[in-house]
Point group: C2
Chain length 385, copies 2
C-alpha cells in the first residue's frame, strides 16, 4: 500500500499495458490512497447496504460512493453539515465520491421537468418539490463534503434520437461550465470536481462531448449515460472513443458499470474507476459473483453444499460459512444472509481490481484478462440491470 | 477468562452473595467456559438475528441459544446432522443450548393438540403436521448437537386455573422422566440435559414441581412458564420459591427473562442463566437498552444527537456511530440500523452480566444492584412483551 498522503489530491499513472489501454495508477485524496483501477462500493444513503464501515475497512475499500439525491432528501444536507460532513456523519475515514443526483432524478422521477436552469423534481419520499441546478448541486456536494464531486449532467435514456442526444450534450456541457464556476468559488482545496461525458451511443457526440469537457480542464472525467440498456458492443465502443480523447494524466471513471467481466473489458480500454450497485443489490437478492460466474445462492442446488461460496476466495464469508448455511439464512429471511452475500461480492469485486492492477504492473494484463473472462464466462451472461 | 476445558461438563459456584442469593460460577462445556451469571443471546434460526458469529465472539458471547422448533422445521434436523451438527452448520465454536420447542409449539400454534404422548402441531411455514413427544424432541436435540438440551415441557398461559396448572405439572414431570430415559440411551457425553420447573403462579405447585424434578437428578434446572403476562411480583416470588429448592451445586436457568432490571432482580434471587429475545427484537424495532433505561432511537429527539447510544458503553456501535446516524439508518430502512442497535443491546446485556459477576465475587453485589436499578429505572418501566 502506498504511503498515506493527508495533504491533497494527486493522480499518477504508474504503468500502462503496452497491448491494451489498461492503466495502473494511484489516486490520492486527503482521506486515502486509492490504487487504480478501483471499484467504489455504493453507499447510497450513507451506508454501503448491509455492511459496516469497519467491514469496509477490513476488506480494504478506500473509496466509496454516496448519492447526493438521496442524502439531500434524507437525512438532508443541513444535518450532514451539522455533523461535520459525510465522513464524520457516517464514521468513514476513507475517501468519498458523491454523484450529482442527476441519474436518480432522471431514473426515479416521472414528474421531473428539465430546463436550462436545472431540473425540477418531486421527492420519492414525500412528494415535495425541488430544483437541482448546476449551482445548487455543487453547493450541496460541498456541504456533504466528499473528496470527489461530480457535475450535474443529464443522463438520457436509451434509445434517444441524435437530435435529443446532441441537444442534451450541449446542455450538459453548459451545466458543467456552471458547475465548475460554482466549484471555483467554493473550493478550499478539500475536494476536486469531475466532469461527465455524454453522447448516447453516437460516436460523433461522444467525441465532441469529451473534447469540449477536456477543453474546460476538469480534475477528472467520467463517462456517463452508458449501461442504460444499450447493446454491449455500443458500451465498449463508446468507452473506447472516450478514453482515446480523455487526457492520459487524469483519472477516468465509467459510471454505473457493472458486471465483473464488463469492468475487466473497460479496464482493458483505459478506465480507472468504477461504481455499481450490482454486487450489493444482487447479493441482497441471493445472487453472488465468483470466478466461475454468477451463483444463485437460493437455488436448491446449494441446499446440501457445505463448501464456501467461492473456494478461491478468502473473504470473511467464504472463510467461515457454507453455501448451505447461507441458503438457509435466505430461506429463513435472516439479515445475516444479505450481509454474508454482500460481503463476498464486494470482496470479489475489490479482489479482481487488485489482481488487474498487479497484472498491469507486472506486464501480464492481457493474459490475466483472457484467463479471467474464459473462466468467468463459461456460461453466457446476458447483459442488463 | 478461565482456562478452556475441552473435556467435558462441570459447574462450580465460586461465590454466593452473603446478603442476597446471587451467585458467581463457571459452567464448562466441551465448547467453552461460560462465566455465570450469563445471558445467552437467542439464535432462533441458527443465527442471532443481524449478528455474525465473528461479532458474537468479538463481544465475548460464549453460549447462545437455538430453537429446536424452528431448526427442526427449517432447515431440518437431517441437514444439520449432515453438516456435522449445529455448531459446524452455523460456524459457531462456542456453546449452544437448545430449547425443546415446547414454548414455540404453544405460542405459535393455534391448532396444537396436547396428549400424554406429546403435542401435535402444524408447521407455521407450510401447515404440515408434526408430533413433538418427549422422546422425539430429545432425539432431535441430540441430532442438532447442542451442548445443553432441554426437556419437553408444557408452557401454559397466564392466567390458568389451579386444576389445569396442577395437571400440566404432572404431565411435564412425566415427560421429563421420559426425556431423561431417552437422553440416557443416546448420551455419549457430548451434552447435558436440563429439566424445566413449572407451576404457573401457584407457590405449592412451583414447590412440588421443583422437588419432584430435583428428585429425578437432572444436570441442571430451568424455571419455565414465567414472563408470560403475570404480574411482576409473581414472577419474582416464583423464582424465589424455585431457587430455594433447586440444588446449590447445579445451574439454574430462568427461561425467557427479560428486561435488564428483571435479570438483575433474578440474579439477586440465585439465577445463573438467562435468555430473551428482548435485546435483539427491540433493537430491530429501533429501541435499545442503556444504563439509563430504554432509548427509542427512532424518536425525533435523537435526530441531531451526535453522541453515541450510551456514553458509558464501549461496544463497536457506540465507539463508531452516533444516535443521529443510526436514527437516519432506521428512517431510511437500512440493514445497518438493526445491526448497530442489536450489537449495542447484546453488548449491554453481556456487560451487565459481567459487572454483576465481578460485584458478586468482590462482595459488593447489593450495592451494584441498587445503583444499577436506581439509574436504570429513573422512569417506570411497564412490564410486558
Amino acid at each position: 500500500m502506498a504511503k498515506q498522503n493527508k495533504q491533497g489530491f494527486s493522480f499518477d499513472v504508474l504503468r500502462t499495458c503496452p497491448e491494451t489501454g489498461a492503466r495502473a495508477g494511484i489516486l490520492r485524496t486527503p482521506h486515502s490512497v486509492v490504487e487504480t483501477p478501483v471499484f467504489m462500493p455504493v453507499g447510497t444513503q450513507a451506508t454501503v447496504k448491509t455492511m459496516s464501515q469497519q467491514e469496509l475497512e477490513e476488506v480494504d475499500a478506500r473509496i466509496i460512493l454516496g448519492n447526493t439525491y438521496h442524502l439531500y432528501l434524507r437525512p438532508g444536507t443541513k444535518l450532514i453539515r451539522e455533523a461535520g460532513g459525510l465522513h464524520r456523519f457516517m464514521g468513514w475515514d476513507g475517501s468519498i465520491l458523491t454523484d450529482s443526483g442527476g441519474f436518480q432524478v432522471f431514473s426515479l422521477n416521472d414528474l421531473r421537468k428539465i430546463t436550462e436552469e436545472g431540473v425540477f423534481f418531486r421527492s420519492h419520499i414525500d412528494g415535495s418539490k425541488h430544483l437541482f441546478s448546476p449551482e445548487s448541486v455543487i453547493e450541496i456536494e460541498h456541504d456533504l463534503g466528499a473528496d470527489i464531486i461530480m457535475v450535474l449532467d443529464e443522463c438520457i435514456p436509451y434509445p434517444a434520437t441524435t437530435e435529443y442526444a446532441a441537444q442534451s450534450c450541449r446542455m450538459t456541457e453548459e451545466w458543467a461550465a456552471r458547475c465548475r464556476d460554482t466549484h471555483e468559488v467554493l473550493n478550499d482545496g478539500s475536494r476536486v470536481l469531475f466532469a461527465i461525458c455524454q453522447g448516447s451511443v453516437y460516436p460523433d457526440l461522444r467525441e465532441e462531448s469529451a473534447r469540449r469537457l477536456v477543453d474546460m480542464n476538469f480534475w477528472g472525467y467520467a463517462i456517463g449515460g452508458l449501461a442504460v440498456g444499450e447493446p454491449k458492443k455500443h458500451l465498449f465502443e463508446m468507452v473506447e472513443i472516450s478514453t482515446q480523447i480523455l487526457p492520459e494524466e487524469k483519472p477516468r471513471y465509467l459510471m454505473g458499470v457493472g458486471f465483473p467481466d464488463d469492468i475487466v473489458e473497460a479496464v482493458s480500454r483505459g478506465v480507472d474507476m468504477f461504481d455499481c450497485v450490482m454486487p450489493t443489490r444482487n447479493a441482497r437478492n441471493g445472487t453472488v459473483f465468483t470466478y466461475d460466474g454468477k451463483l444463485v445462492l437460493k437455488n436448491a442446488g446449494t441446499a446440501h453444499d457445505f463448501g464456501p461460496i467461492d473456494s478461491a476466495c478468502g473473504c470473511p464469508s467464504c472463510r467461515n460459512y457454507s453455501r448451505a448455511y447461507i441458503r438457509h439464512l435466505f430461506q429463513a429471511g435472516e439479515i445475516l444472509a444479505p450481509r454474508l452475500a454482500t460481503m463476498h461480492s464486494i470482496c470479489f469485486y475489490l479482489e479482481i481490481m487488485r489482481e488487474m492492477r498487479k497484472a498491469i504492473i507486472e506486464d501480464r494484463f492481457p493474459l490475466w484478462r483472457d484467463a479471467f473472462l474464459r473462466r468467468y464466462r463459461k456460461e453466457e451472461e446476458p447483459y442488463g440491470f
